[in-house]
Symmetry: C2
Subunit: 452 residues, 2 copies
């Protein structure tokens, strides 16, 4: 029986353990933190994630999606909140399509349970990775409670230990010719909680992702199962105004929310207290290559951490597992071939998900407040409804399909040029009002060949 | 008396120690290696560097340039060696201008002597930096001979420990929002030695930098004081041909040099043996920011390591010392102000020297074999001779002036467009042959305003 070591019991690590255990490997996981199933979730670090098609597919491939169904709240579109409290809705896709708000902790705990109880993986907690010998498959560890040093050798080693991966930092980064970059964006984030109503009901529509787009900064909210919403404020660290370094006193905090996000301010009475107790966190894009060396591979955020604006970081990580799982079968457990194919396949997609994430920050904080952008989305949705085989909008390719990220990003940019051109040639708004937009779409798309 | 710690006793570290000691600081240096003055220089790692204007200025500012004069061999231009052994000379600048071949070890040893003996700096060898507390000015160390751990606190800490800086890796890279990248180029290098003749004389003109430009790969040679030349082959690690991974057997090595570099092959009879014993090394560009934090700053390669193709890596490092020295006086030892001004001034120049280095690789391995390029250089030289206040070629701005690298790079790109345009409008080659090129230059430049 072959042995595999996974560094990190997060989302990628715990799902990848399921894949490996299911394929007959003896799996040992080393996790730096204590068991999250026993620990209290830290205030201001609850974190909700948006699970979409690629993530579900990765769960489905090893038959664990049913465990997640009960944790997931569908979000069928965005609801934008203006500075005067007006709401505008925009569907993400077609009827029946949604992305899902899930708690990081809940999903993670579930995967750990499955890996341990259904497949016999072993998880060791409070074990800090302090180095690795990638050629020999050795991981060096320190027990954080006892201070004891140890090493663990196995046939395969997987670094699933996140954006600040210790295996990458302590082993991969020391390799000759290892390319690496960590690029922090100018913005930080702080979390806030909108509590449930007294009767446990939601203060906002739970089946939407709420956005308060304000140009250079924004607030978003995703529903939790208990009636509350986890909200995140994204804003520059430094600036002339609307920057974290300019908002310090009680009066400044209150004035900021009261004028910029009045409806949120109403729903979140203790925002000043939360500002003081919740941490201000930074956001980075991490790039590296190669992703494999000797007996080891990097997966998930350890290989391609990104900023959270497309909600695809987790989905990309789960898709890494899905792809590696398929390659494991295709190459019949020949790991030299699997690793080679894995990084050739996934590296361009890791790069693309980072580009998509950066682009979608502009979309969320700025474009979604622009009527012309919303009109284009509406027009695209109608085209997609009428000619689903001939047109898929970028958001749908990313969130509702398994089209490789690199392909989606390239095609999406081409489509955007094409759509902007169409919108300039035709007065889409009037055509929609007059009910004539379908005629135009039929005229253009009836005889159009499927691109690709 | 204020205390300063320098990590690394290389070129930047030893010169910076002179600056600090001269300004009255109590300086302690920690160096990972043993004393290079006592150690044998490793075969295939002798390394000659080109010292140019900025380096000399940095030495002159603290009165140590006279120590270096005796070590330096002037190179007034390039000599290109064609595949059939023909030589073409191209001067670097005007009459009397030169860059200087110096041995890294010799220069380094000299600076260490001066820092210790003239100014009382202390150098501790075999001391590996294992971390740092930048706010408190603490450096953590391990004695490589005894294994003993220690820490050293001072008022100021300088990371002058090179491209693979331990202080950057172990302390700066752990800072929140520290941007960092290491980017390896596709090419590696291997050193060879052309021995002196039996009578100690040189086999090639010692007052030139020799280049064998071959498009995607190249060989260069710089004179040593003892009559030998240190040669470096730059070539892709992997490739279809002319790549390190394709040249392995004795026959392949001999065939490679015999056909690509016949005159070199003649002068270097034991090239096969050297190929086997000299290491194949990689080349990287390291970028990071900020360069200062708390009581600490990064200088030289630790802040902006580059590829060696402009011969400016060392000069840029020495110029860091020169700039920091000037700021130390200007801001009267107010280190918060000095550090702020230092990184604001030097970061754009560090970026520019990296761009210049990458660009000059193309120049050296490819352009210098192009008659049109050489003609342009000749034309530029003549312009500069006639109108030295109105035109300075890029190479001269970089190598024979103190114009900031960022400004030189920007201006150089603009000038190149301008020159290419002039060369298209006029048949410079014929004008030169007919002795009429000066008329053209006078016509264009007489009334031209000085740019900037």
């Amino acid at each position: 029986m072959k042995t595999a070591t996974i560094v990190g019991a997060g989302l990628a690590g715990s799902l990848w353990a399921v894949y490996l255990a299911k394929a007959g490997y003896n799996v040992t996981i080393f996790e730096r933190r204590s068991d999250i199933r026993l620990a209290e979730i830290q205030a201001g670090k609850s974190i909700n994630l948006a699970l979409s098609h690629r993530g579900w597919e990765a769960l489905r491939a090893v038959g664990v999606d049913h465990h997640v169904n009960e944790l997931a709240i569908p979000m069928t579109g965005r609801i934008m909140h203006s500075a005067t409290g007006e709401l505008t809705a925009q569907p993400y896709g077609q009827e029946g399509q949604a992305i899902y708000s899930v708690s990081r902790g809940g999903l993670n705990a579930k995967m750990m349970d499955v890996a341990e109880k259904e497949f016999g993986a072993t998880i060791n907690y409070n074990m800090q990775c302090t180095g690795g010998n990638l050629e020999e498959g050795i991981v060096y560890l320190t027990n954080k409670l006892t201070g004891e040093h140890s090493e663990h050798q196995s046939d395969l080693v997987f670094g699933c230990d996140g954006a600040y991966s210790a295996l990458r930092y302590k082993a991969f980064q020391k390799l000759d010719r290892f390319n690496y970059s960590q690029e922090f964006v100018e913005d930080g984030y702080k979390e806030f909680l909108i509590p449930a109503n007294a009767d446990g009901s939601y203060k906002l529509d739970k089946n939407a992702l709420h956005i308060w787009p304000r140009g250079r900064f924004m607030l978003i909210a995703l529903a939790n199962e208990d009636g509350s919403f986890t909200c995140t404020l994204f804003m520059p660290f430094e600036g002339d105004e609307n920057a974290f370094d300019k908002i310090n006193t009680k009066a400044e905090i209150e004035a900021f929310f009261e004028t910029r996000f009045p409806d949120f301010y109403e729903m979140c009475p203790n925002v000043v207290e939360q500002w003081g107790t919740h941490p201000l966190s930074s956001l980075a894009i991490m790039r590296c290559y190669p992703w494999t060396s000797g007996k080891a591979a990097l997966m998930g955020d350890a290989a391609h951490a990104t900023v959270p604006f497309y909600g695809q970081g987790m989905n990309a990580s789960l898709e890494d597992c899905h792809t590696m799982g398929k390659l494991m079968e295709e190459h019949d457990h020949d790991w030299e071939a699997i690793f080679k194919a894995y990084q050739a396949d996934r590296k361009p997609n890791g790069d693309a998900v980072q580009e998509l994430s950066k682009h979608n920050y502009l979309v969320m904080r700025d474009f979604v407040a622009d009527p012309q952008f919303l009109l284009q989305k509406k027009f695209e949705n109608r085209i997609q409804e009428l000619y689903p085989e001939k047109y898929i909008a970028l958001y749908s390719m990313v969130s509702f399909s398994s089209i490789p990220y690199a392909e989606a990003w390239k095609k999406g940019q081409e489509q955007d040029v094409y759509m902007k051109d169409l919108m300039q040639q035709h007065d889409i708004e009037s055509l929609m009002k007059e009910g004539k937009v379908d005629d135009l779409i039929h005229r253009i798309f009836k005889d159009k060949l499927v691109s690709n």
